[in-house]
């Protein structure tokens, strides 16, 4: 079936859902959005590396969701008799750590913690950045100067050092780690949102909307935010690798998730003592961090090609 044949009879039931998604004449706004979304999906699908990244992330979500059924052992159950067993040993596919806990099970449960951190940071940081950036960009003048200088102050510190300072002040723990990472992650989003706002606010379609009498709140929420989101989404996916590493770094330094919780960074920290004799204890969580970070980066690259707002859709 080629596209022309389909578009001639968009309502022909025989052609089904795919034709409905490919029609040239959408029948409603929702339909138009679905069509645009499907076109974006087709474009993303043609990018093999992005699909690999997406596949890994879907796998990660599934693993996290079904952890109790997938994990061969209890992640917290200790077995001092069977400590530091190498990979592929009996009933321990990836070996055991210094307390005899099954590394595979810990990795599987650890994916939940990683996803929890990633999801929360991906919600908090871009939204905070979007608010600050669009307000600064649209208001201009003194508001812009103040908000952007605050942003600059946050940007002046290395991310992990600032996060360390916040965790040290707030106390160790996974929620505080999320908060600390979010506090250090929002400034780049604010900058990005401000830059987008500056170009959008001077465009003719914003002039047209102002000519209709729309106020600043309506312009920001209805027109500037939707146009900023695509570049923010791309930035989020590219940033996630950094967030995972920051969370792992905090865990490694003992300021993130606390033992015995199977956080990947904390697992590396535990394995550090045996790294010369029992390499797998630190390597397996390291590989997990590497794989997930890579997956986010691949997906982010693919999304950047699809979500360019200038292309429309």
């Amino acid at each position: 079936m080629n596209r022309q044949d389909i578009s001639r009879n968009p309502d022909d039931p025989r052609l089904g859902f795919r034709a409905w998604l490919l029609t040239d004449t959408p029948s409603s706004r929702l339909h138009a959005r679905c069509v645009a979304f499907y076109a974006g999906w087709l474009k993303l699908r043609s990018n093999t590396m992005a699909m690999v990244g997406l596949g890994i992330l879907i796998l990660l979500v599934l693993v996290a969701a079904f952890a109790p059924w997938l994990a061969p052992h209890d992640p917290l159950a200790q077995n001092l008799a069977g400590r530091l067993q190498p990979p592929l040993s009996e009933s321990h596919l990836l070996g055991t750590d210094s307390l005899g806990r099954d590394i595979l099970s810990r990795l599987i449960y650890g994916s939940r913690i990683t996803l929890y951190i990633v999801a929360l940071v991906a919600l908090i940081a871009p939204i905070a950045g979007l608010l600050v950036g669009t307000i600064a960009g649209y208001a201009g003048g003194i508001v812009d100067a103040i908000l952007m200088r605050i942003t600059d102050i946050f940007l002046a510190f290395p991310r992990l050092v600032l996060a360390l300072a916040f965790v040290a002040a707030l106390g160790a723990g996974i929620e505080n780690a999320v908060l600390a990472i979010s506090i250090t992650a929002w400034p780049p989003y604010a900058r990005l949102a401000r830059a987008e706002t500056l170009t959008i606010r001077n465009s003719d379609y914003i002039s047209a909307i102002r000519l209709q009498g729309a106020g600043p709140i309506r312009i920001i929420t209805r027109h500037i935010w939707p146009l900023c989101t695509s570049s923010l989404i791309v930035r989020v996916t590219l940033d996630m690798a950094g967030v995972i590493l920051a969370a792992a770094g905090l865990g490694f330094l003992g300021l993130g998730a606390q033992p015995p919780s199977p956080e990947w960074g904390a697992m590396i920290a535990e394995g550090r003592r045996f790294i010369l004799d029992s390499w797998w204890v630190a390597t397996m969580p390291g590989l997990a961090i590497f794989t997930v970070s890579l997956a986010f980066n691949l997906l982010g690259d693919g999304l950047r090609d699809v979500l360019d707002p200038k292309e429309g859709g």
Partner: protein, 350 residues
């Protein structure tokens, strides 16, 4: 044109409009000067007519159009649209007046939100100003699409799926949504192919006839302005140098700048084209941040006189309906209109 017994109603009165943009420089962002984009412009537009506003790039024509619609906070002057002074009222009070005045933009791509469907773009003013139900709104959107010649089936497409001419039609439909009386057309055809330009101009003329619209048609295309406008104002460096009924202006331009501008219009007939003497201006347009003393045009005027360098020429009515700001015509004021009152009476004489 409209020289019937009753004088046509003025729908737009612009008096001494000034739009200066500050220039900030240095560490402390001190104000070091200003760009005088529009510097004392006065004209009237009568109901149902098209006033052409021409001039070279950067002379302030677009700024003038935007300032009249209060997209900027104007520096000085007064703008009366449909009997209401809107020059300095806050945007909030302006909101209920917005439906009366709309704008068609130069770049049809840039004037449409790329994330919105055509129906959403055209329907937005309706959401903003009317309490129409969803269905009534959709009906009105379809009506508008019919009016500008867009296929109804395209209502849920995105702007990037359209050609330039179609996009401009979307922009026109949006401007028409609230039944405006006055539309500023800011170079609506400059970004279009020549073949499409004619279509869009014909559409604008057709809509004017059907809906009784009044246009301020900003353009640098002198031939197109000659086609569409009933009166023409010529701008140079932030000021209107000449304002006259179309035929008078094109046949006997009075200001040396208008003469130079018109001599640059290509003539399709090679025989007569050879006879026309091109007036080629020397030098560049001075910076609007630092305009010359006296007449703005004195640095490039082929007929410059000593007086031009120190005295600014007044914008006076030299013949019924014909205004010019040039010392060459200082002696030719029409007797019954004293120079001081001339600017206020300019509309009545046409």
């Amino acid at each position: 044109m409209l020289d019937a017994a009753a004088p046509p109603k003025k729908i737009v009165e612009v008096r001494d409009l000034k739009m200066h943009f500050p220039i900030h420089a240095g560490v402390f962002r001190r104000r070091v000067g200003e760009v005088k984009a529009v510097d004392g412009v006065s004209f009237d537009i009568h109901e149902g007519e098209t006033l052409g506003l021409v001039g070279e790039s950067g002379c302030g024509k677009s700024t003038c159009g935007r300032a009249i619609l209060r997209l900027y906070d104007i520096t000085e002057g007064s703008v009366v649209i449909d009997g209401r002074e809107i020059g300095h009222i806050p945007q909030k009070e302006l909101r209920p007046l917005r439906p009366r005045m709309q704008m068609v933009f130069q770049d049809p791509q840039a004037s449409l939100d790329p994330r919105m469907t055509v129906a959403a773009i055209i329907g937005e003013p309706l959401v903003e100003h009317t309490g129409l139900s969803r269905d009534a709104r959709l009906e009105r959107i379809y009506e508008l699409m019919d009016a500008v010649g867009l296929n109804r089936n395209f209502a849920n497409r995105y702007p990037h799926e359209f050609s330039g001419g179609q996009r401009q039609r979307i922009g026109i439909a949006r401007a028409l949504a609230l039944n405006p009386k006055f539309i500023v057309c800011d170079e609506p055809i400059a970004a279009l192919d020549v073949s499409i330009q004619a279509q869009v101009v014909n559409l604008l003329e057709d809509l004017q006839k059907r809906l009784g619209l009044t246009y301020l048609f900003i353009s640098h295309d002198l031939s197109m302005v000659r086609h569409i406008a009933s009166r023409v104002a010529v701008m140079y460096l932030g000021k209107v140098v000449e304002l006259a009924p179309r035929d008078d202006l094109y046949e006997t331009p009075l200001h040396p700048y208008t003469q130079a501008l018109l001599s640059a219009v290509p003539d399709p007939d090679p025989a007569s084209a050879e006879k026309v003497k091109r007036i080629i201006l020397q030098g560049d347009v001075p910076s609007p941040a630092n305009p010359p003393k006296g007449c703005n045009f004195c640095t490039r005027c082929p007929r410059v006189m000593p007086v031009c360098h120190h005295e600014e020429p007044a914008f006076t009515e030299v013949a019924p309906g014909r205004f010019v700001a040039c010392h060459l015509h200082d002696g030719t004021k029409i007797p019954e209109a004293p120079a001081a009152a001339a600017a206020d009476q300019q509309g009545d004489a046409t």
